[in-house]
Amino acid sequence: MALTQVSSNKCCGGFQKVFEHDSTELKCRMKFAIYLPPKAESEKCPVLYWLSGLTCTEQNFITKAGSQQAASEHGLIIVAPDTSPRGCNIEGEEESWDFGTGAGFYVNATEDPWKQNYRMYSYVTEELPRLISAHFPADPEKMSISGHSMGGHGALICALSNPGKYKAVSAFAPICNPMQCAWGQKAFAGYLGPDKSKWETYDATTLVGSYSGPQLDILIDQGRDDQFLSAGQLLPDNLIAACTEKKIPVVFRLQQGYDHSYFFVFSFINDHIKHHAKYLNA
């Protein structure tokens, strides 16, 4: 559980740091980014976990999303892990950008050769929170989760599968129904095998149907000019329909003119941090 500090930069009164550690779940060296607000110097702060999208590392979010200002104001720690195990030397790991390295899809793989390392679900929901609680002034009772694209999918399934664990959830252009889109089908088939009942436990739209637990309040922003939206990779309508059916509160904002990039994320990150702060600081 030893942490190695990779970098530390003062930011918005607090610090943006990157650490490296040996992951037991992933059986590899993992990096994660953590923003510590000024408030963390004197007391325990709630933690917002940010899950990034395909091809991303811990760097994309902390360098592009501009989340630190709002996190500093609201006193939130933001933890941004990497998106997959790295350097596991699995055959085919580096072959495509939407599978393997940088595309862990936040599942626990059950298929060879992935099942030894590709356990991102357990990593982000179990190992990482333990690590953070142990080494940082984090309030273990106050966690929330958000993400972008594949990370949005990750955030939704983490929240829906662990009722009460996350006080709030939000997403930017999430892959809402991976079982029904090309990215999801490729990843799930690879990590989980052909049994679709296994897929269902990692599909947000399906999980909504069986959700029972504390009231959720899901905030989703989606760029209207997102090429992956029109390509049918994201399928937010399916999630909205399921949530409407199950009366799970969602505010889904279709933002005119925005695409899938971090420019889009940057534009609305403040709203999301406020949304999380509302529940984390209640």
Binding site: D217, P236, F252, H275, K278
Partner: protein
């Protein structure tokens, strides 16, 4: 002051005595008045005695007599300040009994000797006796430890059992002292009261003295005046009579003289005529004679006919014209009776002397009038415009002995004209000037439906409650404490010119607010209070803006759009009415800051909820223009649709759970208008906009249904995160 005077007099400055007693400086009252002062001195000494006796008993053995003595005189000096003190009966009989007790003690005499060797003082006589008494009360051999209340004698406890005080009430000396002191105190108080009474009576006598003296002085003046008047009148008559006689004499003599002259003339003419006739008579010529005789005869005839002139042209009798002495007689008669009073002087209205149905009217008389009673006349002052052509109402009348009267059964906020006449046995005075008094207004009536509030302020509106205009209004606020009781009035806002007032308040409190109407006569009673709680924003719907199809509940908080088809002809539109959108405005308090309210909606209700400028187009749809912002709910065949409309544009937003209760947060300072699902604490949307003017909440129904407004809700904490 009075007290001071009395004591000064006691000190011997008789020159300073006031005029009242000046005439009888040694009279009874003076002597009596001095008594309390003297008694006070005496009493003071007596009390000191008692205190000293006690002290001596405690200190005697350790304190050498000279210092004891010094203490005594110091005490005496200290106690020189005035504190009316009356010797009580207990004091006198007690001292001898103290002495009596000493007789049996040998040591006493020795000690007494010692005492006498101490330095002599000016006040030696009195104080030495005191010392003896004090020492006498103390016996080394058998010190008295108790006090017999019946005999007023200190004694030993053993005596209670066997001695002369067997069946008496015997108590501890210290308690006895306290009890006796208490009695003394009571006696003092009694006498203090008596002094007070006597002083009052003295000043009263003084007033009477002055009045009597003045009255007699006035009577003397009157008498003199009257006699002077009578004499003057008589001499005037005398002069008048003499002048009259003179005039008469002159007239009569002149007339006689004129007649005399005329007689002479007639004689001359007659004589000439005789001579002429004689000449003619002598004429020989018959023809000439006859010719001349005819005119002569005619002239003789004429002249002889003037016989009437031989009479007195006027009466020479002395006409005794009767002289009218009735007025003089009346004057003589009235010499000994009172003059009728002159017109009293009516006072202008004094503030706070009237109620809504009564007025206290005061007047004064001229000091030299004697009055048996007054008649106070009054009638309402009628508005010319209202009562033209109508007869002025009859004046009402009240008879009183005092120079004031509280007139009741008047109308509120009305002017009355009052005037007074004074009457005594001689007659009635002329009327005083007329004075206009005004009754205070009826209390205003607060209109709760038109009041609004928010955590920082309240807008209170009321009806005057009076037909005539009043001068101003006063608003009174009191905070209602946690225990429910209203505190005293904590703030008053005076001189409010109109029937509304915006007042700053503290958030999170309960206030009871009421209003008074004020005119020249004073303030009215309080209105019924309105309770304002500054927990949240509270407002009502502006019914006059409502589309004719929209009906509003009696509490002003629920609006209905009923299914019934109203014929267009049956709809009444005014300039202020929404004509296309079935909408209504609410009247928000015009205070910037944060305002929060909630609206209960039904699943199937298509609504628009938001804010709009007061002058938003009545012909447009809410949200369809630049003067309104609203959340709109539309039901499409496939789903519920939510729009956040301003200027006809909405962002695309999907909401999965239909809000049953919409929370609206208006934040002027941040320039935000936010909508929430209040049941889920879910933020739905926030408009960013600079509101240049005050906005009003607006509501519309796009299909039949109802919206219920919920007021006075504190903005929930979650609304801060948006």
């Amino acid at each position: 002051m009075q007290e001071q005077d009395l004591y000064n007099a006691e000190e011997g400055s008789a020159e300073d005595q006031r005029g009242v007693w000046g005439g009888s400086a040694d009279g009874e009252p003076d002597r009596e008045l001095r008594v309390p002062g003297k008694a006070e001195r005496h009493g003071r000494q007596s009390r000191t005695k008692i205190a000293e006796e006690k002290r001596l008993k405690e200190k005697k053995r350790v304190t050498p007599p000279p210092s004891t003595f010094q203490r005594f005189s110091v005490d005496t000096n200290e106690s020189l300040h005035f504190e009316p003190y009356i010797p009580s009966d207990e004091d006198e009989p007690r001292s001898p009994s103290f002495r009596g007790a000493t007789v049996f003690s040998d040591e006493v005499f020795e000690e007494e000797g010692e005492t006498e060797e101490g330095p002599p003082t000016e006040d030696a006589g009195g104080s030495r006796v005191d010392l003896k008494e004090g020492l006498g009360g103390h016996s080394e051999r058998d010190p008295p430890d108790v006090f017999c209340m019946d005999c007023k004698v200190p004694t030993q406890a053993s005596q209670k059992l066997f001695g002369p005080h067997k069946d008496h009430r015997v108590i501890q000396i210290s308690r006895a002292a306290d009890e006796v002191k208490e009695d003394l105190q009571k006696g003092m108080h009694k006498l203090e009261e008596q002094i007070g009474l006597m002083e009052n009576f003295a000043s009263h006598l003084e007033e009477i003295f002055i009045t009597v003296e003045e009255n007699f002085g006035r009577q003397e003046q009157n008498l003199e005046q009257h006699y002077n008047d009578v004499l003057q009148a008589l001499s005037q008559r005398n002069e008048q009579g003499a002048a009259q006689l003179q005039d008469d004499k002159k007239l009569k003599l002149e007339a006689l003289y004129t007649q005399l002259l005329e007689c002479g003339k007639t004689l001359d003419v007659s004589k000439e005529l005789i001579e002429e006739a004689q000449q003619i008579y002598r004429d020989e010529d018959k023809t000439a004679f006859l010719q001349a005789v005819t005119p002569a005869l005619r002239r003789i005839e004429e002249l002889s006919q003037d016989e009437s002139e031989i009479k007195l042209s006027s009466s020479m009798d002395f006409e005794n014209t009767p002289v009218d002495f009735s007025d003089v007689k009346q004057m003589m008669d009235s010499v000994n009776i009172l003059p009728a009073p002159s017109a009293p002087v009516i006072n202008p209205q004094v503030p706070n002397s009237a109620s809504s149905t009564s007025a206290r009217v005061c007047w004064s008389l001229f000091s030299n009038d004697t009055v048996d009673f007054y008649d106070l006349h009054y009638h309402p002052v009628l508005d010319d415009a209202t009562f033209t052509g109508l007869q002025a109402p009859d004046a009402l009348e009240i008879r009183v002995k005092e120079t004031y009267c509280t007139v009741t059964e008047l109308l509120p906020n009305a002017q009355y004209e009052f005037w007074v006449t004074a009457t005594n046995t001689t007659g009635v005075s002329p009327a005083s000037e007329k004075a206009v008094y005004m009754t205070v207004p009826s209390p205003p009536i607060i209109k709760p439906r038109e009041c609004a509030s928010c955590p920082e302020a309240a807008l209170i509106r009321w009806e005057s409650g009076n037909a005539n205009p009043v001068d101003s209004y006063t608003m009174e606020l009191s905070e209602i404490g946690a225990e429910g009781g209203a505190n005293a009035v904590t703030e008053s806002i005076v001189a409010v010119p109109t029937c509304e007032c915006l007042v700053q308040l503290q958030p999170g409190r309960h206030y009871s607010i009421c209003v008074r109407a004020v005119n020249i006569g004073g303030p009215s009673e309080r209105s019924e209070p309105i309770i304002i709680q500054t927990t949240g924003t509270s407002f009502h719907l502006l019914e006059d803006t409502a589309h004719p199809c929209l009906s509003i509940s009696s509490d002003g908080l629920t609006m209905f759009y009923t299914d019934e088809d109203l014929p267009l002809s049956g709809m009444v539109f005014s300039d202020n009415t929404f004509a296309r959108c079935v909408a209504v405005l609410g009247e928000l308090i015009p205070v910037r800051g944060k305002h929060y309210w909630e609206v209960e909606v039904e699943d199937r209700t298509e609504f628009r909820i938001g804010v709009a400028y007061e002058d938003t187009q009545r012909n447009g749809f809410l949200g369809g223009n630049s003067t309104s912002w609203c959340m709109r709910h539309v039901i499409t065949p496939s789903r519920h649709k939510y729009e956040f409309l301003h200027n006809g544009w909405t962002p695309e937003i999907r909401i999965t759970v239909h809000p049953k209760r919409v929370g609206v947060l208006l934040d002027y300072d941040a320039g935000k208008l936010s909508f929430f699902n209040a049941h889920l604490a879910q933020h739905l949307y926030t408009f960013q906009c600079r509101f240049l003017h005050h906005v009003h909440p607006c509501f519309a129904l796009d299909n039949p249904g109802a919206l219920a407004l919920h007021n006075s809700i504190a903005a929930p904490a979650y609304t801060m995160f948006n």
